[in-house]
């Protein structure tokens, strides 16, 4: 199994298209960092709204590496599913398109082992992509903008997190984001089994993610009660839960706490459930599939 995983990783990282994803992330992150370096104050004014009329805003200290990283994640994580689908959707469909699938399946390796190796290779790719994003958005931002307290804008509240209370939250958030994007990878992987060309699974995955995200974000009571809690996209934003703090009776936030950890863990559990469901279904379908390509 380990050997199969090595082979699958070798194939992924020898394909030029894999590096498009890493390059795209680098470009996106650096563009945002440059924009904030030149005009971060405008962005801060935007998120603080009319508060600048009643509060003194320390723009220089707000614009620090932790803040920039949060802005990057907020803006860009929604686009990463496309880069994940690009590789995951190609795992089986791409082999069928190339004609190599029939060679693979006729080897003395069970279909289950083959699919597990392919899926885990996709997970490794996803994790590496997130690690790359973490390095650029966090480490590079800290290098360029320094460290200070983090201010986060929620739709109805502002949170300030002390600088000594931030790093572990980011590590947890990136780990959570990896799980969230693995869910997208698992979906693309499942759709890849049904196609003989990777464009279909890639486009289908992105379409599903977009539609579900819209349903997740819309404030329509009919969807809130029926559909929203079950959509995996509703739980993909759970990484933000690590940045919501508890407050004491006086309204002062308590360092080292998470406002609703059970909810975050529940969301994580739901995402893991979807991963098992999608990947499991992919294996079951593939085991019965006639390879005609």
């Amino acid at each position: 199994m380990w050997q199969l995983l090595q082979i699958e990783l070798f194939k992924i990282f020898r394909k030029p298209r894999t590096y498009i994803s890493f390059g795209a992330i680098a470009a996106m992150v650096i563009i945002v960092q440059i924009a904030l370096k030149f005009d971060g104050q405008s962005y801060i004014e935007f998120i603080l709204g009319s508060l600048k009329e009643t509060l003194d805003i320390p723009y220089a200290t707000i614009l620090n590496g932790y803040f920039v990283c949060f802005v990057i994640l907020n803006l860009l994580l929604i686009h990463i599913p496309l880069l994940i689908a690009l590789v995951a959707g190609d795992e089986v469909a791409g082999e069928a398109n190339m004609g190599t699938l029939r060679l693979l399946v006729s080897k003395p390796v069970s279909r289950t082992e083959l699919m597990l190796a392919k899926f885990f290779a996709t997970v490794v790719y996803t994790a590496l992509l997130l690690a790359w994003m973490a390095f650029l958005s966090l480490a590079l931002s800290i290098l360029l903008f320094g460290k200070n307290d983090l201010i986060i804008a929620r739709s109805d509240a502002l949170e300030i997190i002390s600088r000594t209370d931030i790093m572990w939250r980011y590590l947890a958030a990136f780990a959570y984001a990896t799980i969230a994007l693995t869910t997208v990878a698992a979906l693309a992987f499942l759709l890849s089994v049904f196609a003989e060309n990777s464009i279909g699974p890639i486009v289908s995955t992105i379409s599903i993610v977009i539609v579900f995200t819209i349903l997740s974000e819309m404030q329509i009571p009919l969807y809130d009660r029926t559909v929203k809690p079950y959509l995996f996209t509703s739980h993909m934003l759970g990484w933000k839960g690590f940045f919501y703090l508890k407050t004491d009776a006086e309204g002062v936030s308590i360092p080292g706490t998470i406002e609703n950890l059970p909810a975050v863990l529940k969301s994580m559990g739901i995402l893991l459930g979807y991963i098992v469901l999608f990947a499991g279904a992919a294996i079951v379908v593939f085991k019965r599939k006639d390879i005609l390509s």
Partner: protein
């Protein structure tokens, strides 16, 4: 050809049936691809698997390689049931399925390494280079496959099929897209595999002239069903010599012959000739009797070829167009 290296232990006994297929069927939603097919491939056979395009050859081969699940029937290879001993069986099988498609963005060496590892081998660079040397690709080992010609890809496909020293080699349409030199090379390779390396080779093809030269036993299928199976000698029985008699009026001639003692020998009535099947020794007598029956014979051809035999079994000349590459 370089000597092969014994890296996989053969666990089956000698002189047994290498492939034993009984009552194999495959139904797709739209049509029946294979119906109640049974055949046997013996050790050291060069087994010709013949049929027109769409006859069910590739479907059958894919079932042997577990790419397709049969609807019914049993498959045994090396005396083991394919369903229950899949891994052990496939370790001893090498296959080239139709056009060999490989990872174009990898080099020949990398492709070979990858598939060798998947076949369960612990490989060293030297072994792989020897394999590439054997198929004449050692100098281009580092080139990406996307720069290869069709013939080179075919040779690389063969190298991949043989890298783990399998006892059974399955070649599905191996000469497709090859030039005459390539076809000759492929023929020589198959002979070498069988005669010198003692491998069992199953070859599916629609190039009947080629198969006639190399196959020891054959299976002919049409529309998913077995038509006939046997050795070349069994198929080309002198008692079953086919004769083409060219006449001006085939209808009239057929009517006369059908009232004679040759009636049972009449196989086909075509637009410009009749086909009769008779013992080779009766040719002279037929010629004489036709003259006595006042049938104007304009041409007289006898002798069996696989193509003729095949066409006689599977249909008329209108199918010939299907065989052109």
């Amino acid at each position: 050809m370089a000597a092969c290296y014994e890296t996989v232990t053969c666990s089956y006994q000698l002189n047994m049936d290498v492939i034993n297929v009984s009552h194999l069927s495959k139904q797709f939603r739209e049509f029946d691809a294979v119906t109640d097919l049974s055949f046997t491939v013996r050790e050291a056979d060069v087994y010709g698997f013949l049929g027109q395009n769409g006859a069910g050859k590739s479907t059958t081969i894919r079932m042997l390689l577990t790419l397709i699940t049969p609807t019914a029937g049993e498959i045994e290879l090396f005396g083991m049931n394919l369903r229950t001993h899949r891994k052990e069986i496939l370790r001893q099988v090498g296959a080239v399925i139709e056009r060999p498609d490989l990872y174009k963005y990898l080099s020949a060496y990398e492709n070979l390494l990858l598939f060798a590892k998947m076949s369960g081998l612990r490989v060293q660079r030297k072994q792989l280079m020897e394999q590439l040397e054997m198929v004449g690709l050692a100098e281009r080992a580092g080139s990406k496959v996307k720069t290869y010609s069709q013939g080179m890809k075919q040779r690389l496909g063969i190298a991949i099929a043989l890298v783990h020293n399998p006892q059974l080699v399955i070649l599905d349409e191996p000469v497709n897209g090859l030039d005459p030199q390539g076809i000759a090379d492929m023929r020589n390779l198959i002979m070498h595999l069988s005669r010198h390396l003692k491998k069992t080779v199953m070859v599916s093809s629609h190039l009947l002239n080629e198969m006639e030269q190399i196959a020891t036993r054959m299976l002919i299928i049409d529309k998913g069903k077995k038509i006939t199976e046997g050795t070349v000698d069994e198929l080309f029985d002198p008692a079953k010599t086919l004769v083409e008699v060219e006449v001006d009026d085939t209808k009239a001639a057929a009517e006369i012959i059908s009232k004679s003692h040759w009636a049972a020998r009449l196989q086909q009535v075509n637009a410009d000739h009749l086909v009769l099947q008779l013992h080779k020794n009766q040719l002279a007598q037929l010629n004489k009797d036709l003259i006595e029956m006042n049938i104007e014979v304009t041409g007289f051809k006898s002798g069996n070829s696989l193509e003729k035999y095949f066409l006689s079994l599977t249909g008329t000349n209108q199918h010939v167009a299907a065989f052109t590459n």
